[in-house]
Each structure stands twice: as C-alpha cells, then as structure tokens.
C-alpha cells in the first residue's frame, strides 16, 4: 500500500549526488576529530553544575557573612568587641537612650581617626550599634557618665578652627558649644555629669596653637562657668574640684608630652601616657600617678605597661581600659583591661568574633574610645557570645541594600543557576532522543 511513497523515496535516494570526500577520508576525519569535540551535553552539564555550585557557595557565604549582633549587656565590657557591620545607622537617624561605651574601628592618631571612620556608640540597653556623625579629623570624644550624651571636637587641630559639639543620644540633637577654645584638643565630663570640660589653645598662628585653657561649662546649657588659663589640659572634675595633671620639664629625661590623662572616678589617680626620651627615642609608657603631683621619670608612679596607649578609660570600680593602636613603637594593637592596683592585665578583649567574616568588617582592631563610667559599672568582662541576625531581620535587609555589589552578584548568580537548571531540564528532554 505504501509502495508508491517507498518507490518515490527509493528513486530519490538513488539520485543522491556523489559525495566530495571518499569514505576513507570521511572515516579518517571523523576518527581524528573524535577527541577534539567534547560531547556538548557533558560540557553543558559541567558548566551548569559549576554555576550551581558557585551559586551555592556564594549563597552559603552570604549566610555565613551575616552581620553580627553586638554582645549584649551594659554592666561590663563584652569579651568580644564586634566591629559595626556595613549599614549601621547613624545615631541621629535612630537614636538610643544611652550608650555603655564607644568604640572606634579605625586606627587612632593622637586622638583622631586616621582613616576617617566614625566611632560607634554601643547601646547600654540591648547593645545596638549607632554610628556617631563624624568627620575626618574630629577628635576628643567623651561619653557622659550616664551614657546619654557625647561630646567631641569637630575639626583637626591646629590647622583649622575647631568647634565643640554635644550630642544627646536619645534625641539625636546636636548642640554646639559657644566660644570654646579655637583649637580645642579634648573634652571630659565631670564625675556627676553636671559639667563639661573643654581644653585647648586659644590663639592660632600660621600652623600652631599657643597658650591654652580649660573651660568648665554647664552640661545642660553649655554656658561657661569658669576657666583655667594656666594649663592646656587634659583635665578632670571630681567632686566639683577641677583637676589638671601637672607636667614637669627641664629634667634630663624630659617628659616630652603628657597626653590623654584620665582621672579615676574617685579623683585620686590619673592614668596617663608619658613619652620619656630614652636614648634619644620617645618611648611610650602607660603610668598611673596621684592627681595633683607633677609627673616626670623620677616620680615613683605605677607603670602599667611600656606601650603607647591611644585611648584610656576608667570604669567605676577603678579598672583601666587601655587601647593600643599598634602603629606607634611597634606595639601590638588591641584592648586590655588592667588592674592599677597590681598592674596586671585582667583581660585582653577579643577584637573580632570568631564567626565573623573579615570581609564584612571595616577593620579588625576596634578600640574602646570612651566608656560611660556610671553605666559600665565593672571592669570585669562579660563572656558574651555574639549571634548573627536572622535572614528576615531588618538589619539583614539593610545590610544587603547597603552592599549592592554583593547583592547584585548573588542575584545574578542565582539567575544563572536558574538558567542552568532550565538548561539541564532542556538537555534532559533532548537526551531522550539519544
């Protein structure tokens, strides 16, 4: 019945034109090329598997790179100083009631942040991170004893005229201190939080500041109450008494400068960084001495450590928190909690949690820049364990949005993986022909 069609096909097949290549040539060519041409399906499957594996790796990496929630607790320092993740909000945008301490994530250079990275206030109630509205060159930050206000100097000295500001954490309100020293160096709060001390130079020549004074201001109105024009600071006020550590000069081993003095909450002692000249080289030394006495290398003081500390703080129970930047004198960076009575290191704070990804953090050596002496009641360390934000949390979403490159990359890879899966399905359907 199908003879006509078959005969037509046979007739057409008989008229097949002669091939250009002989059978031998075709056989040789096919045999030669068999190793050159990889089976396209295998290549496609390998490519798809590779893309899927890459997407999985990136996805797992994204899960592992979740920003870390700071350690909880306000009564003491956490064992781990977690650096703020990308996308941490400004305290002016999302205020907090009070802060327990302030950390810095960049290297310090004489009280300023060398890399222009803003300090972060850590909430005393829950441990939330809030970035301080900071500009490159700002310095002299101090946290009030109740942790509710921050004061610092805006502008780098002595090249520019500075201004001193006070930030109320609960409202995000930023007040400027009127008529402060034109080259302010630092700020401090009185032990009861009722006074704000601002010190620095009063006159500026081409590149240098001259003279100096310590101003005492009302902490609420910022009105000038009194001033001491004999010392450029630093200063402290304990029990209503202004304390200005003295510096003695003229000795052979001169204290080249007296810096970052921090008076203990009881007003009896001051922790300071001195820089005696030893064999022509400035050697940093962290010392504790009684307040009201001159400091030089012959004065019997308690030497806590032969290192240059960038930031010092006292807790209420008389423990010193010292931060070493590591840039000077090749000292290691880190944060130590020291007991001045024994000169022993109570605890070295871990600067990075073990489960945090270095790619996520902006620096690996956060530093304790200021503490709220009234909030951080103990110098003991809380052995807190940080946790990661869940994937559905607002913080996690904010982190994603703040990192569009990573988000775009992962979305792109996810799309590639989806295309790969569709390709596999398509190839599987085609494979049915084989």
């Amino acid at each position: 019945m199908n003879d006509v069609l078959r005969s037509g096909l046979l007739a057409l097949a008989e008229r097949t034109p002669a091939a250009r290549a002989t059978d031998d040539e075709a056989a040789r060519r096919a045999w030669r090329r068999r190793r050159l041409a990889a089976p396209p399906r295998v290549v496609a499957v390998a490519l798809v598997c590779g893309l899927v594996a890459l997407a999985v790796v990136v996805g797992l990496d994204a899960l592992g790179r979740a920003p870390v929630v700071p350690a909880q607790g306000s009564g003491s320092l956490p064992a781990r100083l977690v650096v703020p993740p990308v996308g941490t909000p400004l305290v002016t945008e999302q205020p907090i009631e009070r802060a327990a301490y302030v950390i810095a994530t960049g290297g310090l250079r004489r009280g300023t942040f060398s890399r222009g990275i803003a300090p972060v206030a850590v909430s005393a109630d829950g441990g939330a991170y809030r970035v301080v509205p900071w500009h490159d060159g700002d310095h002299g930050i101090a946290l009030s004893p109740d942790g509710r206000r921050l004061a610092w100097v805006v502008g780098d000295t002595p090249r520019v005229v500075t201004k001193t500001v006070v930030l109320t954490l609960a409202s995000g309100e930023l007040l400027e201190v009127p008529d402060a020293p034109t080259a302010a160096e630092g700020t401090a709060w009185s032990d009861d939080g009722s006074r704000l001390l601002v010190w620095g130079a009063t006159r500026i020549s081409e590149n240098t500041a001259q003279g100096g004074r310590v101003e005492v201001r009302d902490a609420t109105t910022l009105r000038l109450l009194s001033e001491d024009a004999t010392h450029p600071g630093p200063a402290a006020m304990v029990g209503g008494r202004l304390l200005v550590p003295h510096q003695e000069s003229g000795t052979r081993q001169t204290v080249v400068w007296l810096d970052r003095a921090v008076v203990s909450p009881d007003g009896q002692r001051a922790a300071q960084v001195v820089m005696p000249i030893i064999d022509g080289t400035a050697a940093g030394e962290l010392v504790v001495h009684p307040v009201g006495r001159a400091v030089d290398s012959f004065t019997p003081v308690l030497r806590l450590r032969a290192a240059y500390a960038e930031a010092l703080a006292w807790t209420r129970d008389g423990i010193v928190v010292a931060t070493y930047a590591g840039a000077r004198l090749r000292a290691p960076a880190g944060v130590e909690v020291l007991d001045p009575s024994t000169a022993a290191v109570v605890r070295t704070l871990t600067s990075l949690p073990a489960d945090a990804d270095p790619d996520l953090v902006v620096d690996v050596d956060p530093q304790v820049l200021a503490v709220a002496a009234g909030v951080l009641a103990s110098g003991q360390v809380t052995d807190s364990r940080p946790r990661t934000w869940p994937w559905y949390s607002a913080e996690r979403v904010r982190w994603w949005v703040s990192d569009p490159l990573a988000a775009g990359l992962q979305v792109g890879l996810a799309l590639l993986a989806l295309l790969g899966v569709l390709g596999v399905v398509h190839l599987a359907r085609r494979a049915r022909f084989a």
Binding site: V4, L12, D24, A27
Partner: protein
Amino acid sequence: MDDESFRRFVVARRPALLRTAWLLTGDADEAEDLVQTALECTARHWRRVAARGDAEPYVRRALHHAHISAWRRTRSRVREVLGHQTAESEVDDRTSDRDTAMLMRQALARLTPRQRAVLVLRYYEDLTEPQVASVMGTSVGTVKSQVRHALGRLRQLAPELGEVAPRDPSSVEGRLGLLEREASS
C-alpha cells in the same frame, strides 16, 4: 584496532547514510556534513557502540538527531530555502518533468524536518512505528500523528503528485490518502 573497525564500518555504511541524509536534507553538501557529524559522534563512542555488535542503529539515531539539531540552528535559513523552492515557476518546471524523484524531492522539501524524518524512517528505512518513536525520542502516538500530518500535508501542498497517477486508490494521491487513514487508525 578500533580505528580499522571504524573505517570498515564507514566504508560499508556511509553510502546508505548519505542517501538517508540526502532524503532528509535535499541538499548534497548538507547531507555530507550531516553524515560526517553523525560519524564523528559515533567515533567518540565507538568502543562502546562496537561492543554492542551493531553500530547501525546508533549512527542512524545520531544522524537524525544531528539533522534536527542542524535544522534548529539554521531554522531561518532553511525557511528561506523552502520558500525559494516553492516558487511557482520552479514547481511548474519540475512538474512538467514528471520525474517521480524530483517530485518527491519537491514534496519532501515542503515538509517540516520532523515530518520529513518521520516519512523517511517509516517508508524509506522501513522502521516500525515503535522503532521510529525510539529513534525520534518521542511516543508512538506522536509518530502516528506526525505521519498523518505529513501525508496530509503532502496532499495539500503537493497536489501535483496526483498527476503522476489518477486520483484512485492505486494513485499516489489515493495511496497517500490510504496511508493517512492507515496512520490515523
């Protein structure tokens, strides 16, 4: 060893493969390229294929797959060729030749590659419908419908085939109708 056995297989079977490829493509160069592609595919798996004892089914399957793949890759170009071949003047010229082979070539050229492949497998290579379904990677029902549509399309687009023989059960057109009914049953 493998090289020699493959060469013997190619020498023995390539002419037949070329004829099938010629029916599938209607173009000598394309047919030769198609066979070469199928042979290269077979050569890659020659040891496994030869171990089965009969390489013919594999290479024919590879031939049809390569044909469909090539058609997918060059779909637009094929359409242009088909469009050119369906020009009235050319059809008239070839109809006037009353050459069965040429008429068949014209008719096949008007079918889709899948319909062409179904007809070639079914009526040139004399495969059963399940065998055609196996080669095409589709179901028997699909093969039946493809055959039915292919025959119907032949009757619709190549009525000149009816002039080869009168429209009776023994004519080409009539037989095509019977074949169509047979395929649909």
